[in-house]
Amino acid sequence: MKGLLLKEWYMMLRHAKGYLLVCLVFFTISIFSEGDTFFEAYPLVLAGMIPITLISYDERSGWISFGNILPCSRKQFVSAKYILAIIIAVFMTACTLIVHIIRIYSAGGGVQLGAGVIAGAAFSLMPPSFVLPAVFKLGSEKGRLAYIVVIAVVCACIPFLNMTSENYTVYADMSAIGFIALPLSLLIFAASWLLSVRFFEKREL
C-alpha cells in the first residue's frame, strides 16, 4: 500500500503541475475580481480531475494490470486513489481558504468563514465521489464523460439555488449547510469507495 501511495505521489508531482498552474491563475483572478466566487471555487472542481487523469496515465502505461501483479489487493489499489483524492481535496480547500481570507480582507469585509469553508471541503469531495466508481467500472474515458455529466448537472442546478454573488453571504451565514454538507459528503465518499472496490474486484484486467 505504501508503495502504491508513493507511486501516486510521483505521478502527481509529474502530471498535476498543469492543474496547479491553472488553479493558481484562477485564484489570482479571484483575488482581483470583485464579488464573483466562480474563480475561487472552480479550482476545487478542477482538482477533482487529478485522480481520474492519473488513472488515464495508468491505463495507457499498462499499470492497471501490472500494478495488480504486485503483492497488494484490489481494495488497496482502489484505496490509494481515494487517499490521493482526500489529500488533494484537503490541499485545495486550504488554498481556497487562504484565497478567501485574502479576498475578504482586501475588500475590507468580515464574513463568517466556518460554514463556507466546510461546505467548500465537502464540495471538493463530490467530483471524485461520483466519478471514481464509474472510472473503476468502465475505464477512464467513459468515467471522464460521467464527470462532465455530473458537472453539467451541478452547474444547471446553480440558478435554481440562486447562488449569485449577492446571495453568497446569506449562504455563508447559514452554518447549518456547512455542518450538514461535510458529514454527508464524507458518507457519499465512503459509499463511493465501497462501490469502486466492488466494481474493481469484478473487473477483468
Binding site: G3, M11, N68, Q76, E204, L205
Partner: protein, 280 residues
C-alpha cells in the same frame, strides 16, 4: 511441492475458449508454454495472476489457491507481462523506491546489480526506454524480491540475441535453487528448447501436450522419406505429415517406426509446427 498446479481450467470469451487446461510445474523446474499468437498463453498467465476470472477449474500457486489471500502468495512470485506496465514518467530509481515499499523481500542491492548488468540508465524516464530495455527492467524487478516462482509472458521477445542469451543464463542460475521454478511463455521455440525442463504446447485454447522435454525428444523422431515408406508407418504413430510431390516429411513416435525408415532427432520447434498443422 508443485510450484503451479492447474486443473480443469476453463475461460470463454466471444470467439475464444480456453478449454480444460491441465498444467503442473514441479518446484525447481522450468516449464515452457509454447503457442502461436492468440493461442491462449497470456490468458492462462492472467488467470494464474487472478487478473481475469476463471469460469471453472482450480489454480494453485506455490501450494495455495490463487483466490485465497493471494496478496501474500504474490510476495513469492515474480512476473513479467508481455507489456511491462511501469508508469511511463518514472525512472528506475523511483521504481526501486516504490518496489522497496511494496515487497517485503525487496533487495535493493540485487536490483542495482541487475540494472548494472543490463546497462539500464537510472535516471532516464521509462517512456524513453526501448522495448528491450523495458523488458530488461521488468525482468530485473521480477527477480529482485527473492521470488520462488517466476512467470514470464513473452518476456524475451524484443530482446537482442546477446541479451536473450544473458536472460537465459539468469533463468538457469535462478533454477539452480531447487525451490525456484519458472513458467515461461513464448513463440520463440528455440529459446525454450534450450531452457526448459517441461514443455506444454497450446493451440486454440487447448493443451495439446505437456511433457518432460527430454522425454519428448526421446519419444519422437523426424522422418524424411518417400510416400511409399510413409505408408508403412502406422497412422497412430504419426503426429504430423508434410507431403510434397516427391517425398514426405513427418514427425512420428520413434518406437513405432518400421525398420529401414531413416530418422533423425526432432527439434521441439518441428514437433510443435507439425502437431499444430496436423490439427488445423
Amino acid at each position: 511441492m508443485n510450484a503451479l498446479e492447474i486443473k480443469g481450467l476453463c475461460k470463454s470469451y466471444t470467439g475464444f475458449e480456453l478449454n480444460d487446461i491441465e498444467l503442473t510445474l514441479p518446484a525447481g523446474y522450468i516449464l515452457g508454454l509454447i503457442g502461436e499468437n492468440g493461442a491462449g498463453k497470456s490468458t492462462i498467465i492472467k488467470l494464474i495472476m487472478d487478473l481475469i476470472r476463471r469460469d471453472s477449474g482450480s489454480i494453485f500457486v506455490l501450494g495455495r489457491d490463487n483466490r485465497e489471500k493471494f496478496s501474500l502468495t504474490k510476495e513469492d512470485v515474480g512476473v513479467v507481462l508481455d507489456k511491462v506496465g511501469f508508469p511511463e514518467s518514472l525512472n528506475a530509481k523511483q521504481i526501486n523506491n516504490i518496489m522497496k515499499l511494496t515487497y517485503k523481500n525487496w533487495d535493493e542491492r540485487e536490483f542495482s546489480s541487475y540494472i548494472e548488468r543490463f546497462d539500464i540508465p537510472l535516471s532516464k524516464k521509462f517512456m524513453e526506454y526501448s522495448q528491450g530495455m523495458r523488458m530488461k527492467l521488468g525482468i530485473a524487478a521480477a527477480l529482485s524480491h527473492k521470488p520462488k516462482l517466476l512467470i514470464l509472458d513473452e518476456a524475451t521477445n524484443g530482446l537482442d540475441p546477446v541479451v536473450r542469451d544473458d536472460v537465459n543464463g539468469i533463468l538457469n542460475e535462478f533454477t539452480r535453487d531447487e525451490t525456484h521454478s519458472v513458467l515461461i511463455s513464448s513463440h520463440i521455440v528455440s529459446d525454450l528448447e534450450k531452457l526448459c525442463d517441461y514443455i506444454a504446447f497450446i493451440h486454440k485454447g487447448r493443451i495439446m501436450l505437456c511433457e518432460e522435454k527430454d522425454r519428448l525428444l526421446e519419444e519422437f523422431a523426424f522422418i524424411q522419406c518417400s510416400k511409399e515408406e510413409l505408408e508403412r508407418i502406422p497412422q497412430s504413430a504419426l503426429r504430423g505429415v508434410k507431403r510434397s510431390v516427391y517425398n514426405a516429411e513427418a514427425v512420428a513416435e520413434r518406437s513405432a517406426l518400421p525398420k529401414g525408415i531413416r530418422s533423425r532427432p526432432v527439434t521441439i520447434e518441428e514437433l510443435f509446427v507439425f502437431m499444430v498443422k496436423e490439427s488445423a
